[in-house]
Point group: C2
Chain length 296, copies 2
Amino acid sequence: MPDRDLPSLNAMRAFEAAARLGSMSLAAHELHVTHGAVSRQVRTLEEALGQPLFTRQGRGVVLTTTGQQLRELCSAAFGQLRDGWLQLRNAQASAACVLGCSGSVLARWVIPRLERLRHDLPALTLHLAVQEEPVADHLANVDAALLLAAPPWPAGWQVHELAPERIGPVLSPRYPGADRLREQPACALCDEPLLHPASRPQAWPEWARAMGLPAESLRQAQALPHLYFLLEAAAAGLGVAIAPQPLVADDLASGRLLAPWGFCETSARWALVSARRDDARLAALADWLHRELAET
Amino acid sequence: MPDRDLPSLNAMRAFEAAARLGSMSLAAHELHVTHGAVSRQVRTLEEALGQPLFTRQGRGVVLTTTGQQLRELCSAAFGQLRDGWLQLRNAQASAACVLGCSGSVLARWVIPRLERLRHDLPALTLHLAVQEEPVADHLANVDAALLLAAPPWPAGWQVHELAPERIGPVLSPRYPGADRLREQPACALCDEPLLHPASRPQAWPEWARAMGLPAESLRQAQALPHLYFLLEAAAAGLGVAIAPQPLVADDLASGRLLAPWGFCETSARWALVSARRDDARLAALADWLHRELAET
DNA sequence: CGAATACTTGAGTTAAACTCACGCCATGCC
DNA sequence: GGCATGGCGTGAGTTTAACTCAAGTATTCG
């Protein structure tokens, strides 16, 4: 006995459907169960109430007087619940969602895909905010942040891991010696001026380690304050840069940049993180980001 | 997913209790489950809604704004359901219940116990109706009938079997030769004038068979139209009657009748039968009758 | 700082709910 | 009448949602 004063709510839902549709079988179909299940639930309810709700007459069922009263009661209560529930859901689903991410990611990946995002998730109203790392301090100002970082994640964050990070060297076809370099193995880069992001001095050594090259042999020539400038510099033919694959995917496709040695995974992850749990908008957004990152 | 538009009702009930009491643990206690169970249900609900309902702060929980709205919604809906449900239950529980039974049973068993019944089941308003067998034709006029009959029961009846019937010979201490007879084995009755009920000529042979006596050896002297008259005749010392044990229990206790050879079971049963299913009043009445019959 | 309190969470278990398959009954059609 | 059809009831077996248990975390209080 769940409660002496209140019967099984699931049984009531089954009854309400059966009463509304005038048939156990139709109700069963609506609830995606078999007619036997509905039959049993209704029977349970009748036993709990102490009187029949339907009169069975061979083919079909008809509500008793008591059944009609209970039907009205259930319809009203469940209708109220559903309306209120949907209202609460929609209120938040339609609220704007502020997404923070670094300028580089924003400019080179998010913005080019905004139109597609609007098309795929029309219900989502997205606002964008530039947010350089460390993100932790700014997480309170946004609903979520799209970032590249390595686990473990700070406690209390809600994290949707989207994809492993893959980085690799890129250079412009206009770079002097580009034609020569692209034919050679990765170790040829030891002799080239390497551009690296100031925010991430470990990028080249990480890559070298993954490729089996001695990290010391690399010559980091020029640091640039943002990945965005780094890539612009590389595109301008100033040197060889290193970048996450999705950020250069468009340039690779257009031939503006080359990646002769491909990309390799690091320990970092693309992730959508937020301070608040249980935001359905973010779940949908994470799902979309996951698919979009996997596509390139 | 039970339904896209309506979340788990059980989760809502758990949430409502937790919100009302301001504590998962207290809600768990109210619902007779562990606090872990409530925690999970609330979590399920939060995930379905896509936003948190409580803010957890170490010790204790507090409702979010959304949580407060959902709490009001749930309280209203569940309150409505409970009130309506109880009203439907009570409406029928307080309606008078018409019980039919034979005049003999009524006079010699039911009426002497009416006071006790009123005391044990104060909520039951009982009306009595005399109803001689066959009962089938009259079942429509009463809510239920108390009767003695053998299975199988007609289809469509709701039957509460109460106890096996036990019958045995009874005689008055004033009966000539009572003192002699009571010391002798049952076969001594072969020589006595036996009173039998017109409505049930098989009573004596049935008893004889159960006792291992040849049925033919019995001499049925006098038929009387009702068990009631039969027992009055026996009490007046006119002969030896045969009767169900409960109907003479009071007379045996007072010494007005003797049953020197005890009682033995027949294939018949005391039963409370009705045409309607699922009447909580009858379930309670059957339970009381069962206990009362077992007591003698 | 340790004890106490309250929620969370992962693993394993249980009881409710479901499916399946068959039976029954009424209706309608040949 | 005989037979097919549609709908409900029910017993047996199985699935699954919900639960318990136990360990973990965070906060408060003496």
